[in-house]
Amino acid sequence: MTRSKLVIKNITRKKSRFLFTIFGIAVGIASLVTLLSLGAGLESEVRRQSEQLGAELVVTPKGWCAYEQISVLTGETLPEAIPNEDVEKVAGIKGITAIPYLVQRTALRNQPVPVVGILSTQMMKFKKWEIDKGEYLLDGGSVVTGFGIARQFELNVGDALTIRGAPFRLSGILKEKGNRDDLAIYMDLATAQRLYQVGDMVSFIAVKVDDITRIDGYSLEIQERANVAVVSDKQLVRSVLAIVGSVRNTLQLVAAVAILAACFGIINTMVTAIHERKREIGILQALGAGRETIFSLFLYESAFYGFLGGVIGIVGGVIFSYVAAPYITQNEFTAFLGSAQSVEVFNPDVVGKAMLFSLLVASLSGIYPAFQASRLSPVEAISYE
């Protein structure tokens, strides 16, 4: 006989109560896991996209809203509103590299595809691109594509493309980068501006600074020189996460309530069990179990509820996340973030935390009943009928 065996035998003696209590905590933990996974998935997606941008500062037209800021990260079409004059002013600041983007759209086989107008040599250096096939030639009649686009639409070097009615030759295909860079057609900036009739405007400017410690100074200097707004990549992530976070906080509150209810379920179960097993507690005391032993036996029982409920809840939560992710992530905030499939559902960090939380919460719920049990007087307990 071991303590754990005794605990398991005691806990499973009333099957239905055992199952319902487990179910209570499992539902709470499942909801927590679901919400945390989705939240963490969205967060890591936002961060990943921010890293891909590879810039410390983003210069945008004044008055851009969160939707447009997110679009910088997701590569959606953006309104073009920064004139060349401002691009040059920004580029003229010492210690920074300014990379203008004009983000537009065309379609291949009726599927929208981003067309990004860039300064070809500068961009190649900034992004450290390498050519996979063909040559890196961007001019009035030539474009290059990312690896993903070429594969998806079975494009080859030399293929003819029609963009806004103008003929282009595919001069090269970039090596796979494993990010959004793979999913666009790149065009010479001046050509794109002419083709999309946007004058000398660009959508935004990505800025790389030489001295990261002076980032606030650069930001100020840019705004003084040009009529633009500046956000740091961190601010950008923060503002996106703030939107995602407001949804997440609400959902976490729901999970918290569910877990709180489960805690009361455990306390209720344990108090009932102690009431029913008062006499057995007395027997154990007569056999030589001290207060600490009685306390620990009952605390183990509630911790065991936490353990089992946690395991079931985590499995349930992960499954539910897979099923629910497309529905839950489809709201006005997360719709910007691209496909729901990109949300990573299984997150070891979340699973570990949820398990720990489950054990902790269940153990905490068990403290009061266990304390009650340990305070029983042996004579009172043994004489209880």
Binding site: T77, R105, N110, A258, F264, T272
Partner: protein
């Protein structure tokens, strides 16, 4: 006693489902829709050939001319208003014209037409108003 024991997990579940439902309905006061986006098409409308499905929010309606304008669905969901968009698309339709702020899925063909912004319109064959 059994009823009482049952009630906690059941209550939890009901509360959870109700909250998710409430959250979802609050988050999606604008109904879901499938299809291509207005902003994407407006950039290069003639790159699309044949019948396509476009989703969008109705910005304005002109019943006399049998036409209405739609803005980008995601922008509509994000901003909640139909008056702030820089890009929109004109839809010509012989069917029943939807109301302003409706979310629609329009099946149709892109045609050259100077009456539309950007020199094109979407000639609708079928319009679905999403609820």
């Amino acid at each position: 006693m059994k009823v009482k024991r049952l009630s906690t997990p059941c209550f939890t579940l009901i509360l959870l489902l109700a909250s998710i439902h409430l959250g979802a309905s609050l988050a999606s006061a604008i109904p879901g829709a499938e299809g291509l986006d207005v902003n994407a098409i407006a950039s290069d409308p003639f790159a699309y050939s044949g019948e396509i499905t476009v989703r969008g929010g109705v910005m304005s309606v002109d019943s006399e001319k049998n036409q209405f304008q739609i803005i980008d669905y995601r922008e509509y969901r994000g901003c909640g208003v139909v008056t702030c968009a820089l890009k929109w698309m004109t839809v010509l339709s012989n069917e029943k014209i939807p109301a302003v702020k409706d979310v629609v899925e329009v099946k149709g063909v892109i045609e050259k037409n100077d009456s539309g912004k950007g020199g094109f319109v979407l000639k609708a064959a079928e319009i679905k108003v999403k609820k």
